[in-house]
């Protein structure tokens, strides 16, 4: 728990030891990244024509899930869980789609900003309810998933609406050269600009603190309630990004939440975030989303029945988590 903090403040003075520290701390993420590269190489072996266009498609396809995963990761790091992320994405997606339909390109800018604010508000509502009712997070957010899903249906009863050209353009195609998908850059920039300063700030430290030991955090002067609300607020914000990504990639709004909530939970676990809270970062979960998506692509390329690939994905998820807990158990024993 405090290891993450110590490692950051007391990193070795010289470059190599600092690098080693960094690699040690991020071993899980680096391993996942290695796995991703291996699977990517496999993909080329299976389908030699797999190239830039397909990579761009992959990046566009994973964007909503990646945002949902980031949202879930922040909440879980703070020791909670948000089962309403999929529904919040639905609300924000349909709101954006309804407001942008038949509007000028310029009018879409305030809409996008407004939708992000809406996400913040939804998150604040979730967090405030968790804090003031003292009901377990899982119950509150489960119930709120009904509320937000209902709200999405009120906004837009059936799929429709539209998306501004520039918003859809932001995720399509390459940036600079062919092998750098624009969607990936947009994703990394959004997450990086928000998360990197946050993680280094007091608020970010407080997130990890209440996630690893709420009582200890309280006794060291962290405002637990306020930090929790903040975590859910960030969850709401990234859900709004996810909703916008949905609208941008599909061009419409769909009021029925997809399976993003639970897939996001799966991805963060695969990405090295402990469901107990206080451990993990955002890089691992994002890589995990790409790994899961690429595995699916490979299975499709291999001609595996798409249903069987669901089975394989589920098995991978369980297998990885089992392996992780086996390793932890062995560590505890020695």
């Amino acid at each position: 728990m405090s290891a993450a903090v110590d490692a950051r403040t007391t990193a070795g003075p010289d470059m190599t030891s600092r690098l080693r520290h960094w690699a040690q701390r991020n071993s899980w993420t680096l391993a996942l990244l290695g796995l991703f590269v291996v699977i990517l190489l496999l993909t080329y072996l299976i389908q030699p024509t797999y190239g830039a266009a397909q990579l761009q498609g992959l990046a566009v396809g994973v964007m909503p899930l990646a945002m949902a995963t980031v949202a879930q990761a922040i909440v879980v790091i703070s020791g909670g869980i948000d089962l309403s992320i999929g529904s919040m994405m639905a609300v924000t997606s349909v709101t954006a789609a309804v407001l942008m339909k038949d509007q000028s390109e310029a009018a879409a800018i305030p809409v996008v900003l407004g939708v992000l604010v809406l996400g913040l508000i939804l998150g604040i509502v979730n967090g405030t309810l968790v804090v003031i009712t003292r009901v377990p997070d899982i119950v509150v957010t489960l119930a709120m998933s009904f509320v937000w899903a209902g709200a999405a249906l009120v906004v837009l009863p059936s799929p429709g609406g539209g998306s501004a050209e520039w918003l859809s353009g932001m995720v399509k195609g390459p940036l600079g050269f062919d092998f750098l998908p624009r969607a990936l850059v947009v994703l990394l920039v959004i997450v990086g600009v928000i998360w990197i300063p946050l993680r280094r700030s007091n608020a970010g430290l407080a997130l990890y603190a209440i996630g690893s030991n709420q009582l200890a955090a309280f006794r060291s002067g962290v405002s637990v309630g306020r930090t929790k609300v903040f975590a859910y607020m960030m969850g709401g914000l990234f859900s709004a990004f996810g909703g916008l990504a949905l609208t941008a990639t599909t061009g419409i709004g769909t009021p029925v939440p997809g399976g993003y909530t639970l897939l996001g939970v799966a991805a963060i676990v695969l990405g090295g975030v402990s469901l107990a809270g206080g451990r993990g970062g955002l890089a691992g979960p994002i890589v995990a989303v790409f790994v899961l998506a690429l595995v699916r692509t490979d299975l499709t390329l291999l001609g595996v029945n798409s249903n069987l690939s669901t089975v394989i994905q589920g098995t991978i998820l369980i297998g990885v988590v089992m392996l992780g807990s086996l390793l932890t158990m062995r560590q505890e024993r020695t």
Partner: protein, 332 residues
């Protein structure tokens, strides 16, 4: 906490408010039943004359599968877990039963459905009990695996068609004495077994013990993994029974048949006073919780709320009930 402790009356005599609070805390069934009655009165006011014997019958008939899924959820929640695979397992059992009845006959088809559920339960139990995977992740993953397998299976048996065995049809949708639903014949023994089992059997007490403090129970000699394995098997079998009853009720089976009942089943257990953190709760509350959700749904339909508003109110009510509960239980 501290502020509320300060509010507690000093001296020997307890205030009326405090005494009511304790009654509510120790007998959660009292306020829950009051809420249920209140909802029934509301629905009668909203639409005079709607509350008839047959309305009561059909409300109970619809609530029974939810209550059985709620049983699966209650038992897993008592150990601090959750079973999100109940919907998939229930749909799977119903689908296997419906597609195999034509070729194998009703008895073997039902047996096959239960065996499939047993395998799912063993998988969940091994993951949670032996490998200590978080129940949320384990049951979610198993749910994905089953869904994929069932989609493949569906393509294989596509020409078999679905037949609901007469006995399941009778149990699921039939009524006796014009309005008494037949599924009660199955439900009452199950409910009695669970309620009495939780209170009087060693296994029931082990569930509470593991949920209260898994480490302490392990140190006290409990083989926690065996308890969890048995628990998830029971949970899967209950889900299978609920799935087949739903198939009997709607007279068809599909792979998404019971999926919409998963979150309400968690809600029923939570409303019924079972703590998701484990160690506290019971099944009688869940039954009333399932009935409350059933009556609530028909109330919202009676006042012609659109589906969207219904969902919003549904969620809001769960939060409010759970919040009130937590307030009551936390004091003292």
């Amino acid at each position: 906490m501290t502020t509320q402790a300060g509010m507690a009356p000093s001296g020997g005599a307890l205030g009326v408010a405090e005494r009511t609070r304790r009654l509510l805390r120790d007998r959660p069934l009292v306020p829950l039943t009051a809420l249920l009655v209140l909802l029934v009165i509301l629905i009668q006011l909203a639409q005079p004359g709607v509350v008839t014997q047959s309305w009561i019958g059909s409300t109970i008939r619809a609530a029974v599968p939810l209550a059985i899924l709620g049983a699966a959820q209650t038992l897993t929640m008592l150990t601090g877990g959750i079973d999100l695979s109940v919907g998939t397992v229930a749909s799977m059992a119903a689908f296997i039963m419906a597609t195999q009845t034509g070729t194998l006959g009703p008895g073997p088809a039902i047996a096959l459905a239960l065996i499939a559920a047993l395998v799912a339960g063993i998988a969940n139990g091994i993951g949670v009990g032996v490998f200590k995977v978080h129940p949320l992740i384990m049951t979610l993953g198993i749910g994905l695996v089953i869904l994929g397998l069932m989609n493949v299976y569906q393509l294989i048996v596509v020409q078999a068609g679905t037949n609901i065995p007469p006995i399941v049809d009778w149990l699921g949708s039939g009524t006796t004495l014009p309005w008494l639903p037949n599924n009660l014949f199955l439900f009452i023994p199950i409910a009695a077994l669970i309620i009495l089992g939780l209170r009087f059997s060693g296994f029931g007490r082990l569930l509470f013990a593991v949920g209260d403090n898994a480490i302490a129970s392990r140190l006290a000699g409990v083989r926690v993994w065996q308890v969890l394995l048995t628990l998830y098997i029971i949970s899967a079998l209950l889900a299978a029974v609920a799935g087949m009853l739903v198939a009997g009720l709607v007279k068809t089976a599909s792979l998404a048949l019971v999926e919409s009942l998963v979150l309400p089943s968690v809600a029923a257990a939570v409303i019924g006073g079972t703590s998701i953190m484990g160690g506290r709760g019971g099944y009688s509350g869940t039954i009333v919780g399932a009935l409350i959700l059933g009556v609530l749904t028909s109330l919202l339909i009676a006042v012609q709320m659109p589906e969207a508003v219904r969902q919003i109110l549904f969620g809001a009510i769960i939060v409010i009930v759970a919040a009130v509960y937590t307030r009551i239980v936390d004091v003292g």
